[in-house]
Symmetry: C2
Subunit: 433 residues, 2 copies
């Protein structure tokens, strides 16, 4: 394919969707990818750019001149345009913006760049269809024809008053169904959901998915209409959020994927492993402290991996349920009632598991006292692990810290240490050493 | 509020969005919830029903007569209606369907009930706006006015030929911009994405989010237009999928949330804990097998929790990255190259951690040989754990099994056992016992 046969390549790629071309380019080497991007029209390549893998996009953009980037940017909606410019190094941002010819587009992109990317302002696009409440349906349709050319997809028509304040919305359907001479003021729906420009992106996602909205207008503190957020951006926010929580639960800090370099993966994984190492050393110190139990009850030491594993598993289960509940906003009731419930649950699970372990140790070791000591401590260890797993994420959430960091290695490591300590302590008491 | 003051209650609730009322009802006791549902109009309550928590909806529906449920169902779009009926016990399904008065609606719901809920057919709604390619723009607008009354949100107008086969689409925007006398055949966009009715729901979600679609038409094997799927249903699919993977990674089998009963939570959690218990017993048996190492090198036993924790953490990290990569379709290249990469990564991480551990043991125990034995086995354990964590999900995925079950307790338990076995084995070799 790469014999520089431009025409054949053109014909071939014209049939592809830009998202598919982006996927192909992700696989090609950089030279070939840049070659293809320069070959195709900027209205296709601009869309391809938005779909490219972030790392590859960065490399491709480095190979394009500021002028070329500006041309791509001109084809994009303001939200995508601002996202791409925001990824460039500071020094190039200015240069690219200065090369954008369309003055309105330039001003809008500059405005969007000023918002934090994790807020409604960072998600919104300036492209929207807006009508004044004093217009008639016929006049409205005429103007919409003009505005709509710029807007890829019209979700809702937003109705504003003379001061550009959002007062309501209209669907295209309503407009089509209405009579030509009716006034907008008579037909618009005044009950319109909107979000403030400084609202957190995750909260916007929650609102839109709760109310099944496909687009939501963004306003400032004075209700002035600034832009709109569409559901496809929200799908991305939800996905990123879910991926982040999943990775945190697995002990992976940064947003990495399996194709990232070994160095990047190490940077994301090593800190959590190091935490595990420190925890393991803690467990070692505890066990050494109990080394005088050793001569008589060596069997206790053979069960430490079991105790540590159970403490870890229970902790991860209970923290995961809480973290997920917090993310879906369905953790209700007081912290105390949560802890009591988890305690009962852990006690029930612990009792069933301990019963099994009791008979196993009794039969294999022939000593009911040892069996009792080990299985009784297992119950307590499981209860404590469940309480820690429930309490820590609730506590972090109250402190305004993302509770997702409390899942995974963090909870398993701390539960390993607590579990082993409690285990030896209780076993020692029961065995009367 | 509950002094049966119907009018005041009506006034109060009329201002709320149905999703908010559903949230309030989730909190109330059953009597009060049923009372409010009977009080309000069925066009609000039907929407409330779709938003209620599944357990509560089941209870509320039990308290309504078949006739009352049928009235709610009449107000709903076909996809939501079919979902609610599917939740009823078999015997009641028939009864409720027979009470639906609108014959078209009834036939459509029956058709939807026939599809598997995890396919495109299970997600789609019958409500859509469809035009024939022979119509003119003016005639089309007239008919759309009729059809659109039934459809809550018009995303796209689908264009079919005389045999009802999907040939293209039109946006309302295109229609508004077009001239009245133009033929649909001249203005429609023939490049239309569609999915087969038997396509897997997750794949539909991938297609829609990849191409940023807000609705997609569903066709049968003959390209006949059957229905459409909208992005809000996809948001739900993506969320459920993410929740399921997250819970599996934490060792929670069924879809539970923190408000479920202790029995339900136990059923979801206990099997995984039991797996951990069996793994712990396995570790016990291995350690007992090495008990003759005990007298001389008791210190080895004190490090088993560390070894087990590291093996578990590394395994979870590498399996999580693979599972997430598989879910996002970006695991490329051969299994072998994946395994080599993971081996290098694990070797690098393992070496850094082992170096630290080596000096710790050397300094505290004064024996470089013991330190070497422990830290060298740590490197091997980490490499093996990484390979298992990478290989198992890839293998399961090849076998058509959901790789997400290979994360969490499954991988930690098996890595605990392998890790401890390898650890003692290598330490024994190095120490020459």
């Amino acid at each position: 394919i790469e014999s520089r046969n431009d025409k054949a390549l053109h014909l071939l790629l014209d049939d592809f969707h830009y998202a598919d071309i982006a996927e192909i380019l992700d696989e090609l080497n950089l030279d070939k990818a840049v070659y293809i991007i320069k070959l195709l029209d900027s209205d296709t390549t601009s869309d391809i750019l938005t779909e490219l893998d972030e790392d590859i996009r960065e490399k491709v953009l480095k190979r394009l001149s500021a002028k070329e980037i500006a041309e791509e940017i001109e084809e994009l909606d303001t939200d995508d345009a601002a996202d791409i410019i925001a990824e460039l190094p500071e020094s190039r941002q200015e240069e690219v913006i200065s090369k954008i010819e369309d003055q309105d587009h330039k001003a809008e992109i500059k405005e969007l760049l000023a918002y934090d990317e994790d807020t409604a302002g960072g998600l919104m696009a300036k492209e929207l269809v807006k009508v004044y409440d004093t217009w008639t349906v016929a006049g409205c349709l005429r103007r919409i024809r003009g505005q709509a050319e710029e807007v890829t997809r019209v979700h809702s028509v937003y109705v504003v008053n003379k001061q550009d304040k959002l007062v309501g919305r209209l669907s295209l359907k309503d407009l089509i169904v209405a009579k030509n001479e009716q006034k907008i003021a008579d037909i618009y729906i005044s009950n319109v959901d909107s979000v403030n420009v400084n609202e957190d992106a995750e909260d916007v996602a929650k609102i839109m998915s709760k109310y099944d909205l496909e687009a939501i207008p963004v306003v400032d503190d004075n209700q002035t209409l600034l832009g709109r957020i569409t559901i496809d951006d929200i799908v991305d926010v939800l996905k990123e959020e879910a991926d982040k929580d999943y990775q945190l639960a697995a002990g992976i800090t940064q947003d990495v994927d399996s194709d990232d370099s070994i160095i990047e993966l190490t940077r994301a994984r090593l800190p959590w492993l190091f935490l595990g190492l420190v925890g393991g050393i803690g467990a070692f110190l505890i066990m050494e402290g109990f080394h005088n139990v050793f001569e008589k009850y060596a069997v206790l030491f053979f069960f430490t991996p079991l105790i540590a594993a159970m403490a870890g598993n229970v902790g991860v289960q209970s923290s995961a349920i809480i973290v997920q509940g917090l993310a879906n906003d369905d953790v209700k009731g007081s912290v105390n009632s949560r802890l009591i419930k988890e305690m009962l649950l852990a006690a029930l699970n612990g009792f069933i598991l301990a019963l099994f372990l009791f008979f196993f140790v009794w039969i294999t070791k022939g000593s009911p006292t040892t069996a009792l000591a080990i299985s009784a401590s297992l119950v307590i260890v499981i209860i404590v692990a469940g309480l820690i797993g429930t309490f820590v994420p609730l506590f972090l959430n109250k402190q305004g810290i993302d509770p997702a960091i409390a899942t995974g290695p963090f909870i398993t490591t701390s539960n390993d240490i607590f579990g082993i300590l409690i285990y030896f302590w209780i076993a020692k008491m029961i065995l009367g050493i």
